[in-house]
Symmetry: C2
Subunit: 375 residues, 2 copies
DNA sequence: TTGAAAGCGGTACCAG
DNA sequence: CTGGTACCGCTTTCAA
């Protein structure tokens, strides 16, 4: 994997001198202006300023102009803490994801922002960084901010985390996975079924020696692997030496290493199901490096159908999950509950998945009969 | 770009019935427990509970045990709003980035979390979603939360946004780019110089017909393009028909389309500088699709040196920016200022950049003499 | 070691 | 339409 790579240093380099201490002359820290300051400057009472800001139409335009000028003059920004305390409303929707930077959450977060921001809600995003421990802390932190609802990725919170959420008194939407026992409302898909379907798809294409690679075995990756194991068992196919996993986070390079590990044991590998598209891309590159033709010698299918899958060469087949839809749906449910008090008919909503079939599993040479896909 | 792709529907599909309204039976909304509730249950005063939570050693272990039990029993979570109001400390560091999901911010955000969380700070991340307007709003939202410092990506805030930051009274670190006129402290690198260096590097390798592609021309992309234009002009090389940009967000598919657009005009393209690695990857795939050998026919260099660049086939050369370092440095500066009142000697810190030279610009066949690289 | 009282900066509820 | 007055939940004095 360590490709020939030379580094050329350019520009200024970081040196320790940058951190030479230098006592602050004066902790000037001009106190932030408050409602009272604005009121004084505008020559009105604090209440009036508050109203001018929240319900502008309840204040005469003359005063409103003076107040706006004062606000601008002082660069006044209302203190949410005080506001929250006085009004009991925060307009904040808490969002917890496993990672801020995994491409899987990109569309989902975009959907949440797209849907909630225009409605006047604030989206407060936290990352559990794939750690149950950190998730628990983050839940507590988030609750301390009194969000009006919580949208959390995954169904496997710690018992304590779950209790905090249950007792929070606000709507909680668990997403991405499906569970029989949701905290409150559940919008997701069966990762296990999806893993099963991907494997079955490869089996249906006539493959027998099908491998599986996964990185950082979080609950969802585990579920997909269960699906793989189940599909292989149902088809009475052995999996010896065909599975490679790593506790490291998923990455393109890991994808190359994992398929490499399998190939070193099983040079007769026919097809590979990768737990996510980064691994699939890495696997594709590794095959190119080893001069193994994809899909003619090895078929590859990924998971999530990230943007790059469709434009790789060959394009990579993948299990597509409706992440934007899922986010939008979660956001809409939340808003309905908060604003109208209406809850969805079902506490558990299956958003399903599809398989995007592309060149990495479709040899041009030998088109094959297809069967219906189902578990 | 539209590769052959067939979709296979599986699993439950989303239908409108999921959103059938269903009035809430009882807005139970059990009121959240407060410090007073805990105090009552533990049979002590509120102050004591507060102390037991903040400074456990100031409270007898007997009471502490009773209080902990009550806290747990009630699933009590302190209200940060009240806490902030009473204590004037939030332990929150505000972070604004252009996008939560662009890989460029991954290492940077990780560094911020890695450095700030262990020190007891809370990292509050907002995204401006590449919009000056939204950035301005987000700055106001963030200030309302009274962060103890602000770390913001980019140097091109709106005048009003800038004023808000200046008046906030807290340390502000602008990152990623370098400016002569920082709001407070600036930790970054010259994107223009980096763009110049990447272009110069290609020129030094003997290329003349060098193209440039960029998506979503934010300020940083612009700066890189300036660098490209300048380097080409300095070398007296024409750029007609060699530049392709799109206002769409960057993506792998855009990378393919952009190089395609250039190739359609200039089939004699020799080398390509891509504004980021996604574009570079897309360009590489497009070349493979068109049976153009990289680097023998076309050299490609990307920007940022994201993880996948090194493991592509061939590995993609890229301008490496020290994003983790930059994040760590910004976080350390912030903590020093907040906790010791020490400010860095320089208000402007250049973290530099390097060029990771790899296979996509190094034909095995014709190694070349190299010159020192500099603007 | 524990408790009582006084706000922090807004907003809701009344009165004027 | 405008202003006075509680009070949100917690922490920081200061006393006991």
């Amino acid at each position: 994997m360590k490709a020939l790579s030379r580094r050329i240093d350019l520009g200024a380099r970081l040196t320790s001198k940058h951190l030479i201490a230098h006592p602050t002359e004066e902790p000037i820290r001009r106190k932030r202006s408050t409602l009272a300051d604005v009121a004084k400057l505008a020559g009105v009472s604090a209440v009036t300023v508050s109203r001018a800001l929240r319900h502008p139409r309840m204040v005469s335009s003359a005063l409103r102009a003076r107040i706006d000028a004062a606000v601008s003059e002082l660069a006044y920004v209302p203190d949410v803490a005080a506001s929250r305390l006085a009004s009991a409303r925060t307009h904040a929707i808490g969002v917890i994801v496993s990672s801020l930077t995994n491409g899987v959450f990109a569309d989902y977060l975009r959907a949440l922002h797209d849907t909630l921001l225009p409605a006047g809600f604030q989206v407060v995003v936290f990352s559990s960084r794939y750690s149950a421990d950190e998730e628990e802390k983050v839940i507590a932190t988030l609750l301390g901010q009194h969000p009006e609802a919580i949208i959390i990725a995954g169904i496997d919170q710690t018992p304590h985390g779950r209790r905090l959420l249950e007792r929070s008194g606000v709507p909680v939407i668990q997403t991405f996975e499906l569970t029989d026992d949701p905290i409150d409302i559940n919008v997701g898909l069966s990762q296990r079924q999806a893993g099963y379907a991907a494997t079955q798809y490869l089996i249906d294409r006539g493959h027998r020696r099908i491998g599986y690679t996964a990185a950082r075995l979080d609950a969802r990756a585990h579920a997909r692997m269960e699906g793989y194991n189940r599909a292989m068992a149902d088809a009475r196919l052995p999996t010896d030496g065909l599975v490679a996993t790593t506790p490291r986070p998923s990455s393109v390079s890991a994808g190359g290493e994992l398929i490499g590990a399998i190939l070193d044991r099983r040079s007769d590998l026919e097809a590979l199901f990768c737990c996510d598209d980064n691994l699939a891309l890495g696997a594709l590159f590794e095959c190119q490096r080893r001069d193994i033709a994809v899909p003619d010698q090895i078929s590859i299918i990924g998971f999530n159908d990230l943007e790059f899958a469709a434009c790789a060469h060959p394009p990579i087949s993948s299990v597509a999950t409706p992440r934007y839809e899922m986010g939008r749906l979660a956001a809409e449910i939340v808003m309905k509950i908060i604003e109208i008090g209406e809850r969805p008919a079902d506490r558990r909503i299956d958003v399903g998945f599809t398989i995007s079939e592309r060149g990495s599993t479709m040899p041009v040479a030998r088109p094959q009969a297809r069967r219906a896909l189902s578990e």
